[in-house]
Symmetry: C2
């Protein structure tokens, strides 16, 4: 009975956007809240975030960063100190005008990002070259007023981490920006099983106040791009605005060089859209709160003892590193339980009933392929971790294959427009570097330059796909979330 | 040279409040921020919070609660639905009136606590008795406008967890409220090494909107009480305001019974005030980000190899569960390093220099007692964990002794006033239960009823310490943070 598309989930082919919402609802990942544009992250969704957080937090600490916490509120005057920054962020802020029953003398902005408040503290903490590098990270909520929201992908409030560092030289800051981007690449490829293309953002798409911005770009199943992490070289822009200076070994005062970088709960949206199918959520084992569920089942109560005894014997043989849930609830039928765990995206389902006990094996089903097979009890300790690793790899490979199938080199604008009028995907096309060409493409096709990839496509000159003038290299064009 | 009170820390006896601020500054735990009443939690302070969080989060999950995340903003109309609740919280809220460049139709309150927004979701999620109990926890920032702030203890924004549950009966909710309080008792006694007195709050001190509130109360070194966790039985008050109903097994619709409970970053303030001394911070090993520091030292560079080789040999023999930092920085002197780690509150310092290597031992110093002794390298694997456990226990015992020394039974108001005019502490006195007596005491002495202890003092009737009328039992009176 599980072969049919379960009621309640719209097939991808019919309406991709509806499908996305249905998958989230069926897996109980999140809900819209009564507050416009804000979401409630439900326990299963939050548990994915905790997995993702634990992995990234480990990498952030291993690379010498320390966590700290800065205020939610930013005085209006702080936001105004960096000209590009205020222009980029002020219009989308939530503004606190009253506190403790009184009108405030100075308005407070709910942080849309924390450069300004953090660097005002850096100015106090940094005196000498001995205080550098200063490498801080913050896990926090931020607010950016959004008119059109979509669960996880674009919400007025979201959760994220923001790294903020200060260095003695441009080169050291550049190294840090690349390092942060590489942490995100690892998180995405190793944990989320999503291949990404790292590269530099165009001037139009860079962070408000940065010298330049790097990003990693992923392809979703509908061929659209999703920006899965950004890392900004801030140069000395904020250091000058907030007077963050250090005395170098020769005794001279210099402004520091800074970086900031962040990923958010939007990554959960990326996971959903990269891997799920018409049955519901599909999770890569490494970020699945539950990697394998053991569904225990019996019809006669005399069989219950049999099944429970077998479970008690076999369960301890499975390595404790595998996150397992046993579902031995009486109040639900087997079919309901199968359906329930499928929609929750649990990578591996193991069923155990009286007949399985007699055969000394689990009846197993892979969530990614739907493949059914048996696992003898005595092979379970090795087989379960092996299958989970295989699911992790297969999901990555499938996502990479999809991206390759939908990535093309396009050298003329007519083909370019036809490509994006059709199914679309990633186009590698020469670009002259002129913002006017970039804007024209966006106006006419809603396609944007996702990044100037470090590696893909190659650094080939050619005539700009828009204007025909000489282009020094290719850019990655796509419609984006 | 470390025997002198280091410059910058005011002795407790001179000015307790100044001492508290100095300890925080010297240990680099937190800073006031440019935003009125808000603090910046610096890496060392945040790392303590992470330890505390990890421990409590484990207990919360083990007892069947799941983490989730709800919006920062609460529509004004939501806060108004529960009459006592809005009266208690609205005056201390920060209010968002503008978003995305426009004035909002309905004001949004930055959450001071999340009952209202969470229970509006519970109303959607709960249909049947099968959906109960619903046991949710949230880690979040909250904002309560404060006129007089103090780092960690009272700040406009703070970090906390808030548990929110819904049950089918009063009794189940009551069991949950007691369970939550017991988790806090364990956290406080086992991890923070702070003995606490659990009890019920008076009507005047209960949570706005609750049937009754329980708390745990700790004594700080100056004899004042600090409320270290609260747990509220909300009855059906919010269920009625937000229409949270379930169908019972007989098919009848009933309102759920609810609880909420929370602890916050104020616990870090409790740790500082319970254990630190005139040298600076003292941390219990279980929540110390660094339990032991190995300070490596040499004067001739020919000795460096010797010391490093020894370290490489001994370090791996220490169990990996011990959080160790090796300080082998060349740019600081031994005295500077000693001083640095003492002020950071690291429980155990191990020094290793050429002479120590030759004697095959560490030169060790306990932060709690100042005791100095040597630990032979081959004994280090057992000795280090043993000493850390001993420090943890000793700190608890010391705090308990202090509390006992400053806890008295007082039966008449004159002695009561003399006690609190003097050094003060905890007074166990009969109370008739009348809010007027409670208010009189507070007006005249600034002393409040901390709780009606479950166990201490005993449930003895007697004449009320204030009015002389019959009192059914004793209350715990103290000045409080």
């Amino acid at each position: 009975m599980e072969k049919e598309t379960p009621k309640g989930i719209t097939p991808r082919a019919e309406d991709y956007s509806r499908w996305y919402q249905d998958v989230i609802a069926a897996a109980e990942l999140a809900d819209y809240s009564p507050v416009r544009g804000c979401m409630v992250i439900r326990p299963h969704g939050y548990a994915i975030w905790e997995r993702l957080q634990a992995s990234l937090d480990g990498m952030i600490k291993e690379t010498g960063h320390e966590n700290a916490y800065f205020p939610l509120f930013i005085p209006e005057s702080f936001l105004r100190r960096e000209a590009e920054h205020v222009e980029g962020f002020a219009p989308e802020c939530a503004v606190v005008t009253h506190g403790g029953g009184k009108e405030l003398e100075e308005k407070l902005y709910v942080r849309p990002t924390s450069e300004t408040i953090i660097y005002s503290m850096f100015a106090q903490w940094i005196q000498s070259w001995r205080d550098l590098p200063l490498k801080i990270n913050q896990w926090a909520n931020v607010v950016r007023w959004e008119m059109r929201t979509r669960l996880f992908l674009r919400t007025t409030e979201f959760l994220w981490q923001e790294g903020h560092t200060a260095h003695a030289t441009f080169e050291e800051a550049e190294e840090e920006v690349r390092l942060a981007l590489d942490l995100y690449r690892r998180l995405s490829t190793e944990d989320l099983a999503i291949p990404v293309i790292p590269g530099r953002k165009s001037e139009a798409e860079k962070f408000a106040g940065a010298l330049h911005t790097y990003s990693i770009e992923a392809m979703m199943q509908d061929g659209r791009a999703l920006q899965a992490g950004t890392s900004h070289h801030l140069g000395q822009n904020f250091a000058k605005a907030f007077d963050v200076k250090f005395q170098d070994p020769q005794g001279a005062l210099q402004h520091v060089w800074q970086t900031s970088w962040g990923v958010s709960t939007r990554l959960i949206g990326a996971v959903i859209m990269a891997h799920s199918d018409d049955v519901g959520l599909v999770l890569p084992p490494r970020i699945a709160p539950i990697e394998a569920v053991i569904v225990a089942t019996w019809s006669k109560s005399s069989d219950e003892r049999l099944v429970r005894d077998a479970l008690e014997r076999v369960r301890p043989t499975i390595p404790p590193s595998v996150r397992i849930r046993v579902d031995d609830r009486d109040k639900f039928h087997l079919a309901w339980k199968r359906f329930h765990w499928e929609r929750k995206g649990v990578p591996l389902r193991l069923e155990i009933g009286p007949r399985d006990v007699k055969a000394s094996q689990f009846f197993a089903a892979r969530r990614d392929t739907g493949e059914k097979f048996s696992i003898p009890f005595d092979r379970a300790p090795e087989e379960i971790p092996r299958i989970l690793a295989d699911i992790q790899r297969s999901l990555y490979d499938r996502a990479l294959r999809l991206r390759e199938e939908r990535s093309v080199r396009i050298d003329d604008y007519r083909t370019f427009r036809e490509f994006f009028d059709g199914a679309g995907g990633f186009a590698s096309s020469p670009w002259c570097g002129d913002g006017a060409c970039e804007a024209k493409v966006q106006d006419e096709t809603k396609v944007t330059i996702r990044c100037l990839p470090f590696e893909w496509p190659a650094d080939e000159p050619g005539p700009c796909v828009v204007c025909g003038r000489p282009a020094p290299r290719r850019a990655l064009f796509a419609k984006a979330y």
